[in-house]
């Protein structure tokens, strides 16, 4: 599935959810199922700045694909980073850079994009795109 298709399938999943509790429960479940991050990567340099909770993000580049590992000390922040990774993980740098990310608005996570929301969905996205940009230059 392309990023766009994957995003749209998420939008469909969310459209069946009736209220915020179901959305939050979904985030919490995603957070619990996120692949564990190697503790050696949970260091200061991998912390995403601008989040009220600690969010670590580490990327590696293999076979032209970027693989991300992430974790957070807050469950909801971890769920949000998990949603992003469910769409953007194991993609080519250019796919990420040119991605249609309208799904974020459509699933109602937009509230987390406001700069005051210290969980920093916007900071997470920025960091993911930084990695994509850096790896795109390697190619």
């Amino acid at each position: 599935m392309t990023i766009s298709e994957k995003g749209q399938s998420l939008v469909e999943d969310f459209s069946f959810m009736e209220d915020w509790t179901e959305k939050y429960q979904y985030l919490i479940d995603l957070s619990k199922n996120l692949a564990p991050m190697d503790t050696k990567f949970k260091v200061e340099e991998n912390i995403i700045k601008g989040c009220q909770s600690k969010v670590w993000l580490k990327a590696s580049f293999e076979n032209e694909l970027i693989n991300f590992q992430a974790d957070s000390d807050a469950i909801i922040s971890k769920g949000i980073v998990a949603i992003l990774l469910s769409v953007l993980n194991d993609r080519k740098p250019n796919e990420i850079l040119n991605a249609d990310l309208s799904f974020i608005d459509q699933i109602g996570l937009k509230e987390h994009l406001s700069p005051n929301r210290a969980n920093g969905l916007s900071s997470m996205l920025k960091q993911i795109k930084f990695y994509a940009l850096a790896y795109s230059k390697l190619n």
Binding site: W20, T21, Y24, Q25, I28, Q52, S53, K54, D73, A74, I75, I76, S77, A118, N119
Partner: protein
């Protein structure tokens, strides 16, 4: 409890707002207080009827604006019982006031001089002093906390000496709500010849403060914590000290004579009020004090203590509840965590219930470091809150806990 909160709530238009389809429950009063209609109207009335620059205009509008601006200064002087209106400087708020004093003492202090701050300070009462000591090499010392969030006065008595020139302390900790024994601290400081600045941002809305009785040297507060607008506050200083320190900003209003060779500064308080001030803000600040005095700070304190006791007892019944600064000596602030849960997660879910609390470090990282935590949930109550709202908070926390565990 004989306090007509339902009637008082009618004075606050924002309380009819819905958040996430729920009635707003505002428990972030320590960050900013809500604004009553009389204060909001005083701002529009100023712009509708007598908007003019103050002090030098000879026309009627300017005189009217000057009169109300100066009468706000008098209200502040009377409310806080300062000795003279000249000792009340309008500032943009507490942070600005602290910077005036820190800047003023930069050239007065020498290497080897010492200043003391408390371990309970907001970053705004730490950073300006660090900036100052970088310039004059004075030494910054810190009064440590005890486990219950109170300051360790025994250590303070050991830290202070004739080398200590300044002591800076908040009246009430913004992160924990703990009330500091400033009367005692001022007495000890004065015995050692040190000058004391008290940051009253978190105390002034909750109980009466008598500056002359306290014998405090500098005191500051922000209007927006006292039902007034943002961007206005005041610095009180004893006249002889305000005369001693140089002005912080140059410009109009603060001069008496200017040639290209030399400027003579204006008399107090104008020496520190360069530029056109926040005129409508100052006037509205006066109206906010009128509003509070009409209810009476004694009544407010009794009611807020009642809310605090009720909420503390209810919260303590929640399994895993940890309250920081759990002392009887505090204002209506509860800073807490639930064992195993992140403050951010709890705050996010409370927001869905329309409940506004603050989460994080509350601009007081040293306190969080002391308790070895990354942050807390802070619910801060005021006289506009109700017991029913606290019950909603308890329900929402219980829900969040279940959802997150």
């Amino acid at each position: 409890m004989n306090f007509d909160v339902e009637n008082i709530r009618k004075d606050f238009p924002i309380l009819s707002k819905k958040i996430n389809n729920k009635p707003l429950i505002y428990f972030d009063n320590a960050a900013t207080s809500q604004t009553p209609t009389s204060v909001i109207n005083s701002i529009s009335n100023y712009y509708n009827n007598y908007n003019a620059n103050i002090h030098r205009g000879v026309h009627s509008l300017s005189e009217e604006a000057t009169q109300d601006f100066e009468s706000a200064r008098t209200k502040i002087k009377e409310h806080f019982n300062a000795g003279d209106t000249k000792e009340i400087i309008f500032t943009s708020g507490t942070t600005h006031s602290i910077n005036i004093v820190a800047n003023g003492y930069t050239d007065i202090l020498k290497s080897g001089d010492e200043i003391i701050v408390s371990g309970l300070e907001h970053h705004s009462n730490i950073v300006p002093w660090q900036m100052m000591t970088k310039k004059n090499n004075a030494k910054l010392k810190v009064i440590p906390l005890k486990e219950n969030g109170e300051l360790d006065l025994k250590v303070f008595e050991n830290l202070i000496s004739d080398k200590t020139k300044l002591v800076f302390i908040n009246h009430v900790s913004n992160a924990l709500g703990v009330i500091n024994p400033i009367k005692k601290i001022i007495e000890i400081a004065h015995k050692n010849g040190a000058v004391v600045l008290v940051d009253g941002a978190q105390s002034s809305a909750h109980f009466d403060i008598d500056l002359q009785k306290l014998d405090v040297d500098f005191f500051t507060a922000s209007a927006h914590k006292l039902c007034g607008p943002t961007g206005i506050g005041f610095l009180y200083g004893k006249k002889e000290l305000l005369d001693l320190i140089p002005p912080y900003m140059g410009g109009g209003e603060m001069i008496s004579e200017v040639t290209f060779e030399k400027t003579t500064y204006a008399d107090l308080p104008h020496k520190f009020e360069a530029g056109t001030p926040n005129i409508s803000g100052a006037i509205a600040f006066g109206y906010a004090l009128d509003y509070l005095n009409n209810i009476g700070l004694d009544n407010i304190k009794k009611y807020e203590d009642y809310l605090l006791d009720y909420a503390t007892n209810k919260l303590k019944q929640i399994d895993g509840m940890i309250i920081y600064g759990d002392t009887p000596n505090k204002t209506s602030v509860i800073s807490f965590n639930i064992d195993g849960l992140h403050a951010y997660d709890i705050g996010s879910i409370l927001d869905k219930f329309g409940i506004a609390v603050r989460t994080g470090q509350h601009c007081a990282q040293p306190i969080m470091d002391y308790f070895k935590i990354s942050g807390t949930v802070r619910a801060s109550f005021s006289f506009i809150n109700t017991i029913e709202e606290i019950d909603e908070l308890i329900k929402a926390i219980t829900f969040a806990k279940q959802m997150l565990s």
